[in-house]
């Protein structure tokens, strides 16, 4: 229930109110289409204008954003966009009702803001969680406003419509959970079982993936299709390797062996430098960061570390080559039995003619031989 009806207008209305340009919004929709090319209702259109038309009619979803054991990198990734000023746009598109980093309030005002936001949008808000949740020693390693992280999470999640774990930390524990894991850091879905949890791993993940997920939910009321690990298929169903711009080098056996060697400088495949692209599901190879082309690890010549994958990131050494267990070959690869040059029709024709003519001539000639000689009466 809303206190003020205009507090939750449609996105179109909010855009008009805030003075953000329509062109910037359409640009945003275009970028959403790149981030989510398949599998989302909101981007299943031919043009950004069409996407804008659908998204614009959605009600600005209320978003409550919790920070757990985090570095705030996922927030930064959302904010560190500039073309257009996405930070501003975000606040037109979603209603960020609680966010410890960017909100103006602090102290008891902040605690009150959270309570209010939860009450106003009870059962309707999207909870975004950033950072892992320590579970060891009853979660004593994280206390916010006097509560353990676990308790805070459970409380806020209970009144949420859906939970999005942004970043690897919230998805499966991230850096804090790496070897020894002194705090018993874990992801959201190990704790929250009674609400739909969408994992958006990455360190950090791509901000457009978050936006697309939230908007899909706001527009359709449904969570996008998820894989077995709770990751949206539209972004995480593909390996970096399968969409990597350097894949041709991999296929041709051209590898950089050392940083700065001639292969590296020519932009060759980074597999031998430990690139985890072949075993990492993430959208980075198609949707780069910071609105700068090739602004992503492989693009700048650093091997992918597999930051989205629990089994890889912060576990397998960065420069150790990936252990590819199910190689998915490119479509164009020499088969076991290649097809070689076929049989010429002309040649077959000539052979047939000659053979037929010879046998025919022989038979005809033999008929002529029938007269003039025959079986002798005596042996």
């Amino acid at each position: 229930m809303s206190v003020h009806p205009t507090l939750h207008p449609t996105i179109d209305q909010q855009l008009r109110r805030s003075g953000s340009s329509r062109r910037d919004f359409i640009t945003l929709c275009g970028k959403l289409m790149v981030a989510a090319p398949f599998g989302l209702a909101i981007t299943n259109f031919v043009s950004p204008e069409a996407v804008a038309g659908v998204v614009g009619k959605a009600r600005r979803p209320s978003v409550i954003w919790l920070h757990m054991q985090d570095c705030t990198g996922c927030t930064e990734t959302l904010l560190r966009t500039s073309e257009p000023d996405l930070a501003a746009l975000i606040f037109d598109v979603i209603s960020l009702d609680y966010h410890e980093t960017v909100m103006a309030a602090s102290g008891s005002d902040a605690e009150a803001a959270l309570k209010d936001a939860m009450k106003e949008n009870d059962g309707k808000y999207v909870l975004v969680v950033e950072g892992s949740i320590p579970t060891k020693d009853n979660g004593a390693y994280l206390k916010i406003a006097g509560r353990n992280g676990i308790d805070m999470l459970k409380d806020v999640a209970n009144h949420a419509a859906a939970v999005i774990s942004i970043g690897s930390c919230a998805s499966w524990g991230g850096i804090p959970s790496s070897n020894v894991n002194p705090t018993g850091a874990t992801g959201v879905d190990s704790i929250i079982k009674n609400k739909p949890v969408i994992n958006l791993p990455g360190c950090p993940p791509n901000p457009y993936v978050l936006l697309a997920t939230v908007l899909e939910y706001a527009t359709t009321g449904k969570v996008p299709k998820l894989d077995a690990l709770g990751r949206p298929k539209f972004a995480y169903d593909r390996l970096i390797h399968d969409h990597c711009p350097r894949r041709a080098h991999f296929d041709a056996g051209r590898f950089a062996s050392q940083f700065g060697d001639s292969g590296h400088r020519q932009g060759w495949c980074l597999y031998k430098l430990g690139c985890k692209g072949p075993v990492t599901h993430a959208p980075c190879s198609t949707r780069h960061f910071n609105e700068v082309v090739d602004c992503w690890p492989i693009g700048i010549g650093a091997p992918c570390v597999g930051c989205t994958e629990k089994d890889i990131a912060f576990t397998v050494p960065i420069f150790k080559t990936a252990d590819v267990t199910h190689p998915v070959p490119p479509d164009f690869y020499p088969p076991i039995y290649a097809e070689h040059k076929g049989i010429s029709a002309t040649a077959t024709g000539v052979a047939g003619l000659v053979g037929g003519a010879l046998i025919g001539a022989g038979l005809i000639a033999s008929r002529k031989m029938n007269e003039g000689s025959s079986d002798e009466p005596k042996e």
Binding site: F250, D251, A252, G253, R254, F255, C269, Y271, K272, P278, T321, D323, V324, T325, H326, P327, V328, P329, F332, Y333, P334, P335, I336, Y337, A338, E379
Partner: protein, 289 residues
Amino acid sequence: MNTDRRSFFKSIAAAAAVTAIPTAAIARAKKTAPPDAVGLLYDATLCIGCKACVVACKDANNMPPDTSGYGRGLYDAPDSLNQYTKNVIQLYKDGGETSYAKKQCMHCIDPACVGACMLGALQKGKFGVVSYDVSKCVGCRYCETVCPFNVPKFEWAKTAPKIVKCELCKHRLADGKEPACTEVCPRKAVIFGRYTDLLDEAHRRLKASPNKYVQKVYGEHELGGTQVLYLSHVDFEKIGFRFQQPESVPHLQQSVTHGVYKGFAGPVALYALLGAVVFRNRGKSEKES
């Protein structure tokens, strides 16, 4: 006439006795790997199809690029072993089941090509490597015909054509280095070593991961044994190994030929017999005429 027919059968029987006694043939002893035998072990479960080995082989052997086929005149993209390619990676794909397969000379323990070559251009030499000496080659392509793995390839495009095949980088072995393909493989999917060590390692892997592999080391027994061994997670037929029988290719032909010729004794005996008969008949017919 009856006499002619009878005579014919007699002559055939005589010929049969002299020319073909396969069942009574001297059994040819089974060949074993030489004591200094080296080889390769290729583990298809480790191969990622990067083709670094294809590139390295071309480099190490000064091979020209192969731009026919997939290369469409622009790219060096061999689709099988050929006159420009001594080593190739192929792909088996059937629905979800995939495997890469590295193909090169198998360096058989009892090679068909060595048995075929008239002047011994193909020989099993140092370390058991099947090597090629072009000075003894007349380009008859009999070796190509008989190889069960279709390995030796002919330079069809050249006016002075040679046979082209992997020789296990014998020029690098001579320098104490390993073959180019094993040196460059980023996953160590193909490794080089003493044949006996590789066989042991292959069996160790089979035992350690029984569910990962087809429980067979291809090349241990097949076609008399090969010094290049294969491990795979799919059936070996699927990755292009058509034949599984333990008998080496030369065994049948050489058993028969040796059994019949018995060195030179067979032909000499036959010649003596023929000469004697002709001589006797000549005498007879001269008397009659």
